[in-house]
């Protein structure tokens, strides 16, 4: 299921403004990769280029290659809609569809993609996804209730269930816990550990402890200088980044000397 992503010489622009420059990195399948760095350094921007979500912003463009198991997702014949079906995403703020029940939220991707499915297939998908998202036991008795009635942590797990219901290869998470309390954060972190057996996971986080807890590899981003674009400073095994980083700037950041 899981696929590997290679990012080669990627520059990202919003109109004339260059947000990120010269990013080269590799994301291994069935692992958790964390993007850390100060605000505005472009880590979320890089994340959004991995499934072409940045294109939703008018004027955004990318140069360089992003390869999914060797296939360029920016190839001229590639449909961004298909890229996003393969590479799912979970956002900072839980965003279940307010007009839909819990059940409909989970199958929203399947239904809205236009896949024709029988009732029992949908039922199976709902149960499978909610079980994977550790939410099944909390909501099984109220699947027809609106998704917006759940707590923030439950809503975020509902969003994860919704993302994995379409069976993506890769799951991108953009600060998935920053709007949640510590208990819900723990629940999501446990979930990430389980999900990495099946999916390739990339998580952007402001919380360095979280990166250290959940990820196998960590990439540190920083601004190249005042009013300069963001860049990848270094990427290594999480243990090495947090114990013995090779770059001075990384060490300054994780030791709290700036940022």
């Amino acid at each position: 299921m899981a696929k590997r992503i290679d990012v080669k010489d990627v520059d990202i622009y919003y109109g004339k403004f260059q947000a990120v420059r010269g990013v080269n990195l590799t994301i291994e399948p069935r692992s958790v990769t964390a993007f850390i760095g100060p605000s505005g350094c472009g880590k979320s921007t890089v994340l959004r280029t991995l499934n072409r979500m940045h294109e939703v912003v008018p004027g955004a463009r990318v140069s360089g290659d992003v390869l999914l198991d060797g296939e360029d997702i920016y190839g001229s014949s590639v449909d961004p809609v298909n890229v996003r079906r393969t590479i799912g995403m979970v956002f900072q703020r839980p965003n279940p569809f307010p007009t839909m029940s819990i059940y409909d939220n989970v199958v929203a991707g399947l239904k809205l993609q236009g896949t024709r499915m029988r009732k029992h297939e949908l039922d199976d998908a709902v149960e499978r996804s909610l079980v994977s998202a550790n939410l099944w036991h909390e909501v099984r008795s109220r699947l027809k209730k609106p998704g917006s009635g759940l707590s923030g942590g439950q809503q975020q797990r509902l969003c994860i269930a919704r993302a994995i219901a379409v069976q993506p290869q890769v799951l991108l998470m953009d600060e998935p816990c920053s709007a949640l309390d510590p208990i819900s954060t723990l629940a999501i972190e446990d979930l990430i550990q389980q999900l990495k057996a099946t999916y390739t996971i990339v998580i952007v986080t402001h919380n360095m402890q979280q990166a250290a807890r959940v990820s196998d590899r960590t990439a540190f981003f920083n601004l190249a200088g005042v009013s300069q674009p963001g860049e990848l400073v270094e990427m290594d095994d999480t243990e090495k980044i947090f114990s013995n980083p090779s770059d001075k700037r990384t060490e300054d950041y994780i030791s709290g000397r700036f940022g």
Binding site: R85, F97, P98, T99, A108, G109, L112, Q113
Partner: protein
């Protein structure tokens, strides 16, 4: 050392919390503002309540009489009692329905274009055109339809031409509200949908529109309320008849506003008079006046019912959230 400033500041602080000229002045200003705001609200309420009271007190017994909702004014003179408003209700309902059937889809598509797709010059021009359309007086819209359909194309006056003029008045109202409602839908929901691999058109249709539905329905109802009581197009493009005519495309057709107009114009000269003891005629009863207030009340009730339905749809939507 560090405590010293604290002890000197503390008494000053306590004093300024309770008394002080500034505080009293501010309280006075606040009180004055409260009186002004509440007073303005009361003043604004006066004409509304007065209008409702006038229409209800003068129109209620015409509306509650037998046959108001089942009979027309066929073969009734202005001095006859009774008769109903059915012919007018049918006309208004049909003309507004045709108008809505044309306006709602066009206006929704324009609003969707402006919010979801519109970029650059075309979007700006469209917004500008909608603004202009909003400001067009209804008589001008009516004259335009008259010039094109009756003047140039040689059609004759009929209900459907009234509907066409109303379309010009209804579209900008619905575009404006629908646009606002669509802009209120959080971008996060669109992004959530895109991230699931849902194409844009399906995102608009299945995520954005349902989320904004309650507001859009309210907009449509506001649009209907706006055109249901419109008079200029009726005077220019329609002809009144006291008889039932449910054919939008042929012949004269009564509507509530033109019914009101007809009764008003003829009321003063058709009252029932009796010679009093002083040898002068006294007005005993004027049935046309009854009917015109009755028709006004009917129009208000229809618009209020539509508003109520809109509210209910909105509430229903919220509950299912």
């Amino acid at each position: 050392m560090r405590d010293a400033p604290m002890t000197t500041y503390a008494p000053t602080l306590a004093k300024s919390l309770s008394t002080g000229r500034g505080v009293r002045l501010r309280k006075a200003k606040s009180g004055l503002a409260a009186v002004l705001v509440t007073g303005s609200f009361a003043v604004a309420l006066v004409p509304l309540v007065w209008l409702l009271w006038t229409v209800i007190s003068k129109g209620l017994h015409a509306v509650t009489r037998d046959g108001w909702f089942t009979a027309s004014q066929r073969n009734k003179t202005y001095t006859d009692p009774g008769g109903g408003a059915l012919h007018a209700i049918i006309g208004t309902a049909e003309q507004v329905a045709l108008c809505s059937a044309i306006s709602v889809p066009i206006a929704l598509l324009v609003a969707i274009y402006l919010v979801e797709y519109g970029r650059g010059a075309l979007a700006r021009v469209t917004t500008f055109m909608v603004d202009i359309l909003t400001g067009i007086p209804s008589i001008v819209a009516a004259l335009f339809i008259y010039a094109v359909f009756i003047g140039t194309l040689g059609q004759s006056k009929a209900g459907w031409l009234v509907s066409l003029a109303l379309v010009l008045l209804m579209i900008p109202v619905i575009v404006r509200t629908a646009e606002e409602m669509l802009r209120l839908v959080p971008n996060e929901l669109r992004e959530a949908s895109y991230a699931l691999g849902v194409p844009k058109w399906r995102t608009v249709l299945r995520v954005v529109l349902p989320t904004a539905l309650a507001g859009i329905v309210t907009g449509v109802i506001l649009g209907i309320a706006r055109v249901a009581g419109e008079t200029a197009p009726l005077l220019v493009l329609g002809t009144y008849t006291p008889n039932r005519n449910s054919d939008l495309f042929h012949g004269p057709q009564g509507t509530l506003p033109s019914f009101i107009n007809d009764q008003t114009v003829n009321a003063s000269s058709h009252g029932t008079y009796q010679l009093g003891a002083d040898g002068k005629p006294h007005l005993v009863h004027n049935f046309a006046v009854d009917r015109l207030w009755g028709a006004a009340l009917t129009l208000i009730v229809i618009v209020m019912l539509l508003n109520l339905i809109g509210r209910l749809v909105g509430r229903f939507q919220k509950i299912s959230d």
